[in-house]
């Protein structure tokens, strides 16, 4: 901000960034709002992961049932999610460059990744349920295992599904010229966050419960 204005407002030069009339972070309000939501949601997920760790630490024999096929499946899911993050990055990039139809295309690719993730995940859920895993029991010991697994992955899957819908709305809206580059970027933030949470669920829930050959 011009020093002239700072003087008329009776301010020191250094205060001008926070002087009002604009965002101190030079980001739009929607973006700041999404960041705040992400901080809050990250804490919700942390609390769930802490609860899971608490019961696991307090249970002397936690099962490690995941065969290498499950680990491979979860690894593929991780790769899909990471790749869907890069497609969202491309969508945001195209949005900034103003290529509306390219945005919609990249977002569609991202949604496809999300759907694929959900499908692979649900297939695994069904498999586990058929093996007798429930919220309150499982064939391998400490009943908490099923509870922690379904709660954590279930909440994450909900986030992925919400994200797919959200990106869909943004994709259509952008194509029609209703949404700006900022809206695309904000939806991208949400999607990356879903990816980020998985970066903790994957090792804590799957890798730490991998069955040795």
């Amino acid at each position: 901000m011009a020093s002239h204005e700072a003087v008329t407002l009776g301010l020191h030069e250094t205060e001008s960034m926070w002087a009002g009339g604009r965002s101190p972070f030079a980001v739009g309000s929607k973006k700041l709002g999404m960041w705040l939501f992400i901080v809050s949601d990250a804490i919700t997920f942390s609390a769930l992961l802490i609860a899971y760790s608490f019961v696991r630490v307090a249970s002397p024999s936690w099962p490690r049932p995941f065969e290498s096929a499950s680990i491979a499946n979860a690894t593929v899911m991780t790769l899909i999610l990471l790749t869907s993050s890069i497609t969202v990055v491309m969508a945001v990039r195209q949005a900034k460059l103003g290529n509306r139809s390219a945005v919609a295309g990249w977002l569609a690719a991202t949604m496809l990744g999300g759907i694929l993730f959900d499908v692979l995940h649900l297939r695994e859920w069904v498999g586990l349920i058929e093996e007798g895993v429930r919220l309150f029991k499982n064939p391998w010991g400490t009943p908490q295992f099923g509870a922690a697994f379904f709660t954590l992955t279930g909440l994450h899957m909900t986030h992925v599904t919400v994200g797919v819908v959200y990106l869909g709305v943004i994709a259509i809206g952008t194509k029609r010229g209703k949404y700006t580059a900022e809206d695309v970027e904000v939806s991208g933030l949400y999607w990356h966050f879903v990816d980020l949470v998985w970066m903790f669920i994957f090792p804590l829930v799957y890798l730490m419960s991998a069955k040795f050959a």
Partner: protein, 105 residues
């Protein structure tokens, strides 16, 4: 009623950097999976996996979520608050460890 910001074109980062980050994330995931099959003590394993995950999360936040390119003040407002609260949650663990010898199960 929002503060809105126009992004000039020079804000668009080159594709290359994102692909490099993506490559790193895939590689780190691979390392994690390999680690899971080493016969390490569970605490060591946990520390290694969590360290790698934090590195991955940081990469996502910094590059994909663009925080590295925002004003430093944004990161300085958001990240310490989140890290502080999550760190405070770890205070529950002395009690879960106590349960190992005080539990009646």
């Amino acid at each position: 009623m929002h503060a809105t910001v126009e992004h000039p074109a020079e804000h668009v980062e080159p594709k290359r950097i994102f692909l490099i980050v993506w490559g790193f994330l895939l590689a780190l995931t691979g390392v994690e999976v390999l680690l899971a099959y080493q016969s390490l003590e569970i605490k060591v394993m946990l520390v290694l996996l969590m360290t790698l995950s934090i590195v991955k999360a940081s990469l996502i936040i910094a590059y994909f979520m663009h925080l590295r390119y925002e004003r430093r003040s944004l990161a300085l407002v958001l990240m310490p608050a989140m890290v502080f609260v999550i760190a405070m949650l770890f205070v529950v663990f002395p009690d879960s460890l106590r349960l190992l010898w005080m539990s009646t199960q």
